[in-house]
Symmetry: D2
Subunit: 337 residues, 4 copies
């Protein structure tokens, strides 16, 4: 049994992680932590997330002593703000813990990236270099060896799982940037009070045009420039991405199907992608599940792909758990289906 | 043309009032005010409420000089917090303005009521005595003469419009307290950031069991004790009240129908109630409208009534406008249909 | 391993049952059936319910040969219409199968009940007499011995779990009928095309005033007359019941708490009720889970209780699975948490 | 006063039209018609659309005698199926009525279009030639003279209002097809029972990839090929279109702004477009209103535009009313604001 702690456990992804760890046959949930100043400190997690009552009633502890916490942990899940992950990850890594970071702090190894998109200078270049990007279906071998896994963002997960088979197989004309339109549930903004998230103010709309930090994350890992436009949807959970792209000259619908099937075999215990081929992905089919549904259609030189995930699960918590499973040699979807 | 100002114009009821006043052929919207410290001061109202763009682009002014504001106004709409209405109403009244207060500050003339339910001692007993309760369908004669009209709360409007015809006609057995269950849209909580109103936290639930301040407002004006249980619903606007009550001995379904029809004639230009008789009220039929729909069913000695209103309109703004129309001799639904 | 078949597997409860049976360590899902004339025959279940793709891809077979189907099954789940359950249950029972019926066909042993509320004369009086009402928390000993278990309706489950501890302990004044207001998600109406269920027509409203067939089911099993008013809510899943009742003379809040805690111990592996005491039940805390959350508040001689369940789970499928577990000596929440 | 009849009045656009005509100072609503075989015949419109109670209680008449109906009408609104509009329009036109057709039957003058996209051969080539496309902001002069106005579809209205200023000013590189992603409320599918529209089945998803008949309508009238991907959203009303396009070489953000402002002056009584410039369009700001909100952002050679309308209003009924107003010399937004 591996001792597992969750830092930043009060939010929506923290709650999902706590549920999964509790249910995992090889993990023991040994600690839930919030920042030392949090008003939620010492409350049972189930007081904040009523659906966990009777399932995860462990209290949220204030994170006051990193060293002691690190010493007692085998696995550390960071469901913290980017800056916090950046600041504390090294302490856990130095203590030998496996660290799975759900923030953006270790995702992109590109000069000036953190200054430009996250507003801080990265201080842990070594760990950034060693971090493995936890896109579970694509980096399995590296994840199995890594000490620090940077779990991808929610939009990048949906977008890359759909596009990567085409890019890798050379089927895409990346000169004409793929257009990614994606709609996310409000939980993507985290658990907090704000006018933007206020029930009566939520209304379907685009935001962050040309400037969202997930655009460079996608382009960097895909090695293909994209235009990415996120939208806020009037629902709690889920992401639907609709992607329009130009195929390389001569590419046929059959080429696309072959590339997709090669990338994602049908055995769903080895990965969490479900291919729909000529169907389109539907949000409600993936909400509450660890799967990414991908559909597509080709006409002439154009392709439209649709991809749907639960933003809190495959877009965060369940993908982190997939990485834990890969890293520790457990069946990949343990505690997930 | 009557100069009309709205104090507390930044909220949801303020926005609705601004739209109505702009559209009213005998009123001129001469000022929109927010508290002097509001961050919204000097913004056009349509910047906060995008649906008003091109319709009400007037800026929100900080309310710094009550006297000057009062001197220039014929009609004052107070869409302010209870304490603010309490504190500033007299200034406008003393200047001779007609004051329509949408807060609870002048609704109930009962000893100790404000201390117990609103947490402050009422300082304006004289004005409280003179205030007329603006339940438009029932206090028409008094409203037509009053200088200060206390517009009823949203839950009390739906509840009283359904029950009052029965109480007045002596058809109810008030010994067994009527049970009022009502579900309100989230806008009833006002325009503000809070965890309770946060999109992902909103979930159908009862609140304020036995303690909501609308319970004594209903009981007081109805002259019949009630058990009132409000609920938060997962929608933006509207209130649906379901009321279960015991009829007085010997009362028949026909007696009820006669009482209802006597109270609310069919001419919908004289009032804003629509009788459904054997049908049940549906929320979406009244959202966006000034009407209260009322249905009922009798079985043996029991009656179940359903009443639906738009909480921001008949439960607040359009009822205020009905009162303005009554007070000034305009057709009652001017600017409302 | 027990061979388990689901009859009427194409609907929402059927899909939930299929997921649970697949996941259960002691059950094998050996057949999914629909009526011989169904257009869904021969389709994989996951074609109708996309969320099951990769999890339950078994095809829906037309039910043409009852005897053969019965001979091969240990456990039969009837997720069929009331009339169908009534007609076919005996065939499975005679073959020695355990039958768990989710319809209303065997729930109420009262003269004339089926004629009045279901429109047919019951032909299987013997089996009706032998049927055990599957309210899992209350009839555990009988369920453990029964061959035919009539799983309760969704509204009755929420209502009875909240009221039964009080009735059994003699704390309620049943002379004054408890008032049950409950709001259900649209899935309660089943998987079918109708104007009533059409997305744009759904709007919060009461229905079936004084006439819903769940009223006599509740009154019968509770042994206390009630007034039950169901509502259609603007959401897919879940039921919230708000119950207002009069306590017997002298009953205190402490008496109520004691009765509740006696009825539902804290060990949530023995039952599926979570007591909230002074909190109110929230819909989203139970959607997707097998739990019933119950809160209450006492004031003077009145009590208000709130109870929330997932209508498709504790109100149907997961309660059926609880009954299977009880009947076969498995831990009660196997495959449910 | 002009006698106005609505054919196909039972649907959602019919109901909106009835409300507008009733409220219009120069129109008299003289008849509401449904097909002779409709089950809704002889019901008051407000029985189908409860929100119209007390406002439009006129009965729905079966359309049995086209000639008599035509003879008594000055203005005819066809809210009928495409085939029905195609079949009956000529009868009204020959009788001298002004005809405003909300179907697709007279929108596109291109060989083979109706056979390919609507499945019927067009029989009224002459009237098709004479029909004016009722995109109110762009075809004002022609609309003012026309006898037959083909009111545009909902998606085409949002898409064209956003793109047309750029195409007309030559600012777009149409070689790289603009990508239009649009999400529509469920009311766009009409008032009918179907599994697709069933409340529990509705889930955000793309549909009609590469094949929706609004794609050629947009391309034809815009004179620029586009890739159009419609989506079904989990809400009743509204359309949000997000459009990604490539600008012609050397075009700047200022050029775009100038073209937009030239196309849509600020005087909102002359048209129904509201320019948001650097803001993005939000669905809820236009639901229930006659306006189209348009925002945009330029980066390098790319532009992203967002456009929002109420699909039943600017996407159908209120645009038809704008056309009536233009055709008859009334202020353009009469009965609309």
């Amino acid at each position: 049994m591996l001792n597992t702690v969750i830092i930043g456990a009060s939010g929506y992804t923290g709650a999902e992680l706590a549920k999964m760890v509790s249910r995992h046959p090889q993990l023991t949930l040994t600690g839930l932590y919030v920042s030392a100043t949090s008003l939620d400190a010492n409350k049972p997690l189930s007081e904040l997330h009523g659906q966990l009552k009777g399932m995860v009633d462990l209290p949220l502890q204030p994170l006051t002593d990193l060293k002691t916490t690190a010493a007692a942990a085998d696995i550390v899940l960071l469901a913290t703000a980017h800056e916090v992950s950046h600041d504390i990850a090294a302490e856990f890594l130095d203590a030998g813990c496996q660290v799975f970071d759900l923030s953006g702090a270790f995702r992109v190894k590109a000069d000036g990236f953190y200054q430009q998109y996250y507003g801080f200078e990265h201080q842990y270049g070594q760990w950034l270099d060693n971090a493995v990007y936890g896109l579970a279906e694509w980096n399995q071998a590296d994840i199995a060896q890594a000490q620090l896994i940077a779990v991808p963002g929610c939009y990048p997960t949906a977008s890359q799982l759909a596009l990567k088979p085409l890019v890798v197989a050379g089927l895409l004309d990346c000169q004409q940037w793929p257009v990614i339109n994606a709609v996310s549930g409000v939980s993507g903004a985290g658990r907090k009070a704000s006018m933007t998230n206020s029930f009566c103010e939520v209304s379907l709309q685009a935001y962050g045009l040309f400037t969202h930090r997930h655009q460079p994350e996608i382009s960097h890992h895909l090695n293909c420039d994209v235009i990415f436009t996120p939208h806020l949807g009037n629902f709690k959970r889920g992401i639907l991405a609709t992607i329009t792209a130009k195929l390389a000259p001569g590419v046929t619908a059959d080429d696309v199907t072959a590339a997709m099937e090669a990338a994602y075999s049908n055995a769903t215990d080895q990965h969490a992608v479900r291919l729909l081929n000529n169907n389109t992905a539907q949000l409600d089919n993936v909400v509450g599940s660890c799967f990414c549904d991908i559909g597509w259609q080709v006409q002439g030189e154009h392709i439209i792909l649709t991809a749907a995930i639960d933003n809190l699960l495959k877009g965060a918590s369940s993908q982190a758990m997939q990485c834990i499973n890969i890293r520790n040699g457990f069946p990949q979807l343990t505690a997930l289906v």
